[in-house]
Each structure stands twice: as C-alpha cells, then as structure tokens.
Symmetry: D2
Subunit: 333 residues, 4 copies
C-alpha cells in the first residue's frame, strides 16, 4: 500500500502516522518530496482498514498494491480451485451446466424437467423454493415444500441440487441441498455470508446487479474468511442505462475474474438477458470467454411458468444448446 501524505504536513505528524503503521507490524518506507511525502508499506496490509487511514486529516490518498481479498486472490493461490459437488467438478477445466426451472411449482413440473435436463446433459439441477420478488404480491415460492420436491428429484435423477437461500433462519432446511445459492440481492447480506462461511458446503454466489468486481470478490472473501473455500462465482448481468434487455451481461468481468481469482466462475444467461432467444448466443459467448459453467432456466412449458417464463428454454432447446456449447469448448481449448 502506498499512502500519499498531504502537502505541507508537519514532520511530527508524519512520524506519528509511521509509528501507528509500524505498530501494526508493517515496515514503512518514507520518501519526502517537494510536493508530497509518500509512505510505502511493506507487509500484510490486507487486514488494514482503509477507511481509518483515509479519515486521517493528513492523508491525501492511498493506493493498494496488494489485493484487499487474500483467500480469493490468485496471487496467493495460483492454481484453479476445483469445487467438487457430490462428484460433479466445477473449475480447473471442468465445465458444468446447471439447469432447471426458475421456481419449483409442482412435483410433476419438477420431476419431468429434472429427468429431461438430465437426459439432455445437465450436470446439476436448479430450482427456486424461496423466491426473491420485487413485489410482495408476486408468487414467493413453495418454500419448504419446494425443497422437499428438489430432494426427491435428486433422489430420482442423481443430479446434485442447487437452490437459493433468503433467510439464515431457513438453514436447517438446506441440510441435504448440494449447493446453496446466494442471490444477487443478498450478495452483500454480510450476516448471511458469515453464516455460510461456517458450513462445509459449496456456495454459489451471484454478483449483485450493481456490484463491482472487487466488491464481488470481497463478498466471496466473507465466506472464505469463515473457513468455507467452496465458492462458485456467478455473473448474472449488471444494471446499466440500457433498458432493452433486463440486464447487461458482463462477460468481460468473467475474463477479469478468471485472472484475479482461482475460484470457478459461471454465467447465468437466463437472468441476464430475460429473453429466451438470447440465452443460446450468450451461453456460447460465455464458453468462448473462459467461463467454467452455466446456470440455465429450463421449463417444460415456459408459457405457463409461474415466474420468469419468457427467459426459460424448453428441454429440447436446452439439448440443442448443450451440443453447441460443447463444440465451442472444444474450439477454444
């Protein structure tokens, strides 16, 4: 970290700051210039509170050289992390596709879709039991019953299941869920993240729709700092000025994340686009950009889905997509 001290700061004040830093086990290199004094810090600055330093009257600015996330950073873990979900591997060259309906709606719907996506090449099954909805009057999900149906579908198909948590109080219900998903709106629900950090279970962390790449990694760091290193990151579109599509899919962030972190990064083209016809091209583009997987909404009858129908693929569309994705993966290998 480099601290730039304000012009015309007295020497004694600078020395106080140097001492304060040294007390935190950091070595400090001081350079006195005509217009500014610069302090270069050597040592582990990841646990230093930037805000405290910025708040000091004599500090003009500071600049991190090291990343503020240590567990998530590739600097300290050059090799790709491979998250193992009941035998399905994600990351480190293992491309995984999670498919299934937005919401669990009924036993028939889920079991039919689960069998279809399994047949057509899905590696895991997704389905929402607790649904975050903008309106209190929209369908809120089947709750506990939805989880039971997912567990049943897992038993029948053998596919690991992925489903979203919205309240830490529900954690006991997720005991046999294979991957717990944290939705975009909860990416900075820090109390929830802390609790998930104490589990020994893969977490699928979705990027908040207005979160920077660094904030995203800091949220992964919350989970990892608690001891749970099984984090799968998911880009699902960001909010911009463009209104034609629901969100703007940030595939560049996928490339950037692959460089900054060793964690697997997957893409959710269904939520990002909100429109089924764009799911296929964005899935292919994700594969070409270096993503480690996809999470795709598939519904046996999108026109009657209780939520997010317009963005769901039919099982047959999913089958066709799976084939194309494999071709792109082979091309970019």
């Amino acid at each position: 970290m480099v601290i730039i001290v304000k012009h015309r700061t007295g020497e004694a004040q600078v020395d106080n700051l140097v001492k304060w830093l040294e007390d935190k086990n950091l070595r400090v290199q001081k350079t006195v210039g005509e217009f500014q004094t610069i302090l270069g810090l050597i040592g582990d600055t990841s646990k230093l509170d930037e805000d405290v330093i910025r708040s000091m009257g004599i500090v003009e600015d500071l600049r991190r050289i090291q990343k503020p996330y240590k567990n998530a950073s590739r600097d300290f873990h050059p090799d790709d992390t491979i998250v193992d979900v009941n035998g399905v591997k994600v990351g480190g060259g293992n491309f995984a596709i999670i498919a299934g309906p937005c919401s669990v709606e009924s036993e028939e719907q889920l079991s039919f879709t689960a069998e279809q996506v399994k047949e057509f090449g899905a590696d895991m099954l997704r389905g929402g039991a607790f649904k975050p909805r903008t309106s209190p009057y929209s369908f809120q999900g089947m709750g506990e019953e939805g989880i039971q149906l997912l567990l049943k579908a897992k038993e029948v198909t053998g596919l690991p299941i992925v489903t979203e948590i919205m309240d830490p109080e529900h954690l006991p219900l997720f005991k046999n869920v294979d991957v717990i998903q944290v939705g975009a709106r909860n990416m900075q629900n820090f109390e929830l993240l802390k609790k998930l950090g104490k589990l020994n279970k893969p977490i699928l962390l979705k990027r908040g729709f207005s979160s920077t790449i660094e904030e995203f990694l800091m949220s992964a760091e919350y989970i990892m700092a608690g001891g749970n290193g099984n984090v799968i990151l998911c880009e699902r579109g960001i909010r911009t000025f463009e209104t034609y599509t629901r969100n703007t899919l940030d595939l560049l962030a996928v490339s950037v994340l692959k460089q900054l972190t060793h964690l697997p990064v997957i893409v959710d083209p269904s939520h990002a686009t909100g429109i089924a016809q764009y799911v296929a091209p964005m899935s292919l583009a994700s594969a070409a950009a270096g993503a480690d997987g996809l999470i795709i909404e598939v519904h046996h009858d999108p026109a009657h889905a209780l939520c997010d129908g317009p963005q769901s693929l039919t099982p047959l569309q999913f089958k066709e997509l799976r084939g194309k994705v494999d071709k792109v993966l082979a091309a970019v290998k």
Copy 2:
C-alpha cells in the same frame, strides 16, 4: 392495466386469456385492431403477477396504469403520513434532523456527541452498532454493546435513537430502539422486510444504491403489506459512472417520491457525498427540494473515527448547518 396481444394471435387464444383474467375478478375490454388486439383491465390489478402474464406466448407487452404499490401510493392516501417517533414528528410539514456518529465507538464518544447534537438542534440520535462493511476485515461495529450505549444516550438526552439492523435474529436487541434502520444493501432483503412489517415501530428504509424509485416503493410496500405503516424513506445516493464522489445524490428522486407516495422522505447527504464539505450544500438543497428531514453524520473527532470519518461533520459544523437549513425551510415554505 393494458395488455397488448401479439399480432396474428388466434381468437380462441385471446378468449382464453380474457377468461383467465375475468376469473381474477377483473373486467376486460377487448379492442381488435388490424395490427394488435388490446385488452384493457378494469378492477384491482395490484395483486396481479406481471411476470405470469408476460410469460404467456401471446402477450406482446403490458402497461400498468395503476401503481403496483397500493399501501405506499399517494393515489389512495392523498394526505401526507406523519410518522411519530416518541413525540418527534416526521412528514406532513414536520422536518426532522437525525444526527450522530456513523459507528458507536465508545461510551465517551457517543455520550459527548449525543449531548452536542442535542444542544445544537438534532431531533434524533443516530449511531451504528451493526455495521455493513465491504471487507470482512474492516471494523464490524460494537454489536449488542453498541445498542446498550445508544439506549444509555437516549436516557440521558431524551433523543429517540435510530440504528441499523442487519440480521432478523438480532430483533430482540432492538426492542427499545425507536427507529430501526434498513440499510441500502438490505433494501431488497425481503425476509427482513416481512419481519419488520409485523412490528409496530417506525422503520427508516434506505434506498438501495442501484434501486429504481419503483423498487424502493415496492420494498416499502413489503413492510406496509405486513401491517406496519410507519415507514420513513431515505435517499442516500445512487451508484453511477461518476467516481469523483462516493455516490450521486438523487434529489430529483426526492421530489418524485413526494408526489408518488404519502410517506415521509428524508436525505442522507453524508453517505451520498462521502466528503464532509459537500454535506452542507446538499443538506440545503434537500431542504429546498422538499425533503422531510436529514440524517447526518456528526463525530466529535472525524479524523479519528473508526468508520466514515471523512464525511462526518464536527458538532460545531452541525450547529451552523442546522441554522442554515432552518432559513432555507422558511424561504421555501
């Protein structure tokens, strides 16, 4: 609500949709045009799930005429709601200023600041006990102890206290807190909102930093739908491409909110700007724009605050600001 049916949809399919709508106690006016068929819905559409309709293959688009929030809408409650906080009124012409430190740091810090802001004209005391921080390594707040110190300061000064909740599990600690604050990052933590909706206590709901005005009101609706109408809205800056300031303060949203809803709307210029010197001009602008109050960070020694120091006013700066705000309020009355 107006539903536009896709070009070349068969008559039978349209009739099915009409029947489906009528089953929901809506009257439907059908107009068949050359290029499109339009259905006008008459009745209470606020509980209709837009997504379900959009997902129907034959629907081109729909447009709400009525607002999707009913409890929060001024259409149904033309008069301003006045939230009464232990005798301090907010809204309906009552301008209230909440002041205090970002974080509760110690008994000395809090009691000193509390007495100062009271003397200099604050109507309520703020202070964070649970702090949402981007980094797991930053100071996370004093927690329960912080709440105890706030309650003590309340006892001494008589000022009602406002503090943020981050986890529904902590609710018992907030029993004697006067106003429970929901931070920007939790604006769409729907499970938390539902629980707050069952309380009979004022809620200060901050706008998410990338939430639209409509999403903001829908979150207020979550609380109100549960039965708790004591919601104070707070604009605290939105995230844009501009990086010079921490956020972009959206004062236009304050004017828009005052028209759309009967709930009081206050402004947090401290978090929006992140820089103390802009707190005063933005406070005056808020008062001129029609806000119902302000929430301002005041610290006896900003240079040593454990969080958000650079944006805090000193007690004397606060005193000066209070005087100027009153002048602007008088000018725009």
Copy 3:
C-alpha cells in the same frame, strides 16, 4: 402506435386528437374504457414526432409497436445487408477483421504493421489520423499526413483502409478512404451523420459509450435516411459503474442488434477492455455471440505506442487470435 389518453379527458378533446392524427394519414381505433381511452394508430407512424404527442396535455403515455427506425429495421428488410468494401464483404455470413494501430505514428510504424496484419489474416487496415482525445494536451493525431500514410499502406498491401472523421470540413481528405469511421463521441453528431448520408461509401458507426441500442439504430437511420445504406455498426463497450476495465463490453447488444437490424455488427474489443490480455477472450466471445467482424488494435511495439498502447496486440498475438477466431466461427456455424 398506441396512445393512452388521460383519465377524465373530455370527449371533444379526444376527437380533436383523433382528427389531428387522421390528418397525418393514420387510421385511428378508439376504445373508451372506464379508466382510460386508448387510441390504436394504423399506418406508417415512423415519421410521427413522439414528443409532439407526449406534449399534449391529454396524453398519458404512448407506446410504439412499430420501430422508430425504418431503413435500419429488419422488419422491412429481413435479409442481412452485406456491405462490400472494395471486395471485402461484411455481414450475411461474411466475418471480417479490421486490424492496425490506434494512431498512425510514422511511415515505418504503419507500413510494418500493415504488412504484418495482412500476412496474419486481416481483411482491412485501421489507423487513426484524427484522434479524439479527452485532453487538449494529448497527441491529437498526424491529421492529413496520417491519411496520406494510410493511402500509401493501402497501395502497398491492397488492404482497404478504415479511419475516423472528426470534422465534416475534413471530408475532402477522405475521398480515397474505403470506410469512414464515426467515433463513439460523435455518434450523435447529427450534422456529421447527415453529411455522411449523402456519400456512397461505407460508414463504420461506433456506439456511443452511453447510447441505448435504440439511439444507436436511430443514428444509423440518420445516415440511411440520406440515402447511404452502407452502414456497419460497431459495439465498443459502454460506460457503467464498473471501473476495473475501461468499459463494459455489451455482447448481449450484439445479439439484440442482429435481431433488430439487417446491418452488419462488429465488435471493438480493444477499446472496450483497454487491456490487451482481454482482447482475445472477448474476440472469441464476440464470434460466438454472432458478430460479423472485429476491429482490433495491433502495434508492432505496444510499449511505445503514442496512444492506447496497453490495449494493443503485437502482430504475433494477432496471428494467434485470428486462428482461434476461425475455430470458434466454425464451431458455431
């Protein structure tokens, strides 16, 4: 177009509006509902001024069914437009790569780079002679001399050349330029667009960094309305809250554009990312997403480029990329 009339508007006023619309050769279908009156317009509404209608006191809202761009819309021209640049085809299944330095810097630099990119598979040569720079103190390009050097490189290599115009006054200098580029900052320089609409020469129109897809197409419409249908669209990244990369590459917009318009759509991954190492993954993703081409910065010595060096590929990196792009194109065919 559907016009929604305000609640409680008098019948006579509505009839006036109907008459005004009929005078514009439109047929009007009126539906009187309990809460609103709706007017459905039948006929060519593309030349109707939306703002005039919105400004009428009795109009609640209007909604276009037809696109506001007629020449650019795929609705009226279902087949892909193929732009022919001196024998190099773009669009309709023809994928073209434009490569070359950001700025023309010297004869040696340009001729060397031109020969290299030709050898390694570029279809056209790019190079900036007039450079839009944020600071008046930055290098502004070689101007006329730069254009002469480009024409020389064209003569030697046979590659068509692409270069940017910044002032209509410079048009005579562009007589032998094959493709005139309009930069992002000039996408809504309407006077320039009108002048380019009168030429019979391909125009490469870059998306403004905060322009919506619809605004982008309206700017293409400005050129086409003048009679010049040879427009190539270029997505080059949009401005969002994310600051890690220079821009956010909006590949979803490429897919959307391919559906809305018949014009070819290419991608500029160099400007979008601003960082050379992300050019390759974003190029592959563009090819997978359905783009019709790429425009890529290549410099023989990026570390000493006078502008945009950090985002330039070396000729050898370009060669490798060309090969990979071809593989992805084959995979998604």
Copy 4:
C-alpha cells in the same frame, strides 16, 4: 504525478524512464521499495500524456496530484470568474436566469415568450434554432430563420440571447448571438470546441449526459486552451439506471465543480427532469446548492410546443419560480 513501477523491473529500465521524464523538464524523485519503485515527478505535468506513460511495459500505475486541467482549475485561479454577457454578469455571486422556449417556432411564439420572461425576471433569452434530435424524422429546428427571430427578440427586449450550435460551418450565423451553447451530445466534439476557443464570446458548455466531472472540465479546457476564457458550465442531468425521469440531476456535481473550478456553473432543470412539475423544486435546490444560475424552458403554450413541451413552464409559472429562487438565494447567502 506519482508513477508506480512494476515489481521486479530492472534498474536500467527504471533509469531509462527517469531520463525520459527529465528530458521533459521534470525533476524525478526515485524511491526503491521492496515491492515497488515509486517515481515522484516535480514540475508542470499538465502537458504530459498519461496514456504514453501507462503504455510503458514497466509502469504499474500512475496517479496525478495536480489536476490535468490548468486553465479551468481553481488551484491556479482562486477567484471566481465572472462572465460578462453584454452587461449581464454570471458567477462570483451573480445569479443569472436564462429562460425561453426549447425551440424557436415562430415570430409570435418567440416574441410573446421573450417579452413575458423579460417582464417576469429573466436575465437572458434562450431558444433553439438548430435542434439535436434523436430521430431524423423529428423537427430539426428553424435553422437560420430561427437565429434571425432570436436577434429580433433581442432587439425588442434587450435580453442577450443564448442558442445552440451543432456544426462549425454555421458559425457565421452566430456572429451576433451573445452566448453560444454547446449541447450535451457535442461536449466532446473536440473540433468544434477548438474553433470556439478562438472566439471572444461566452460559451455555455453543457455536460455530456454520461461525462465525468473531470471530462467536463477537460472539455472546458479545450476552449480555454484556445484563448477563450468565457466559459459557463451547465449541469443538465446524467444518464443512470433510473427511468422514471428523463435524467438524474447531479446537484452534487455543482458543489464539486464550484470547488474544482473558478468558472460559473449553472443548472438546466428542464432537460434534467423532463417534467414541468419538477422544474421548480430542482431550481430551488440548485440555488441552495450554490449554482450561479439556471436555464429554464418557458413556453406560452406547452401543450402545443413542437419540442419538449412536457418540461416547459408557462410564463406565470416562471414568474412564481423567479420569486421563490430569490428567497432561497437570500436564505443561503
């Protein structure tokens, strides 16, 4: 300027860079740390091309201490610039209101509105003769005839006139125009700015709707670098994710600009909001935030304006607003 050299760069390479910098008349302070080498530059760095330095392979990052705009910066001109428009002063405590129709539509419309706004307290008259419109099919303004009508209105009322330029070719028509306006879409039309820099006439420079504060000042610098210091800055709303209003008015930028530059800063609440009822509160808020003036659309019959009717005030509404603005100005003095 501080340059941070990449970890593990060879000494000889660093020395080369130091020499290159010294050749540009800069003094360089080198500090060699364990993790990085830092170069502090002393001297005038405002004409240094940041991009060239960033492009050097050995440079990790650079950070400006001095502002990149020298003429526009308050650091070098602490006193407020007062722009004198034919006797009407703007800046330095002089608050000026520019009012008039969006477009000049006819002699009657303009002369009536001009006399009304003069009577009701406007200091200058605005009116568009050349109109930037998103669609080529929308009304494009009266052009030269519009300018003639403005000059006539100036003669009758004595009000200085403000009107927008869209093409440098039109400059001769602006000879007797008092203030030449550069619209948001042309803020980075650098060739136009350079030409305006050679005039001796006040320029009203509007902020691009997605331009940062620094880019805005750099565009002012383009004009000032040419020798024309009579620049009035205008905040007119920025583009964000919020769609309820046309733009988000960035009043915080006004406060920031007042600190960074000595140039006067005015606000355009009409374009920012797009809705007449929000013009008054945003005008009052602008005055409270420290703006030096307002530019407001006034139309004698907004419901029939050829452009931007919904955001125009009637003359009487303008009169009422003028009175309230004066009260706020008195309150914050």
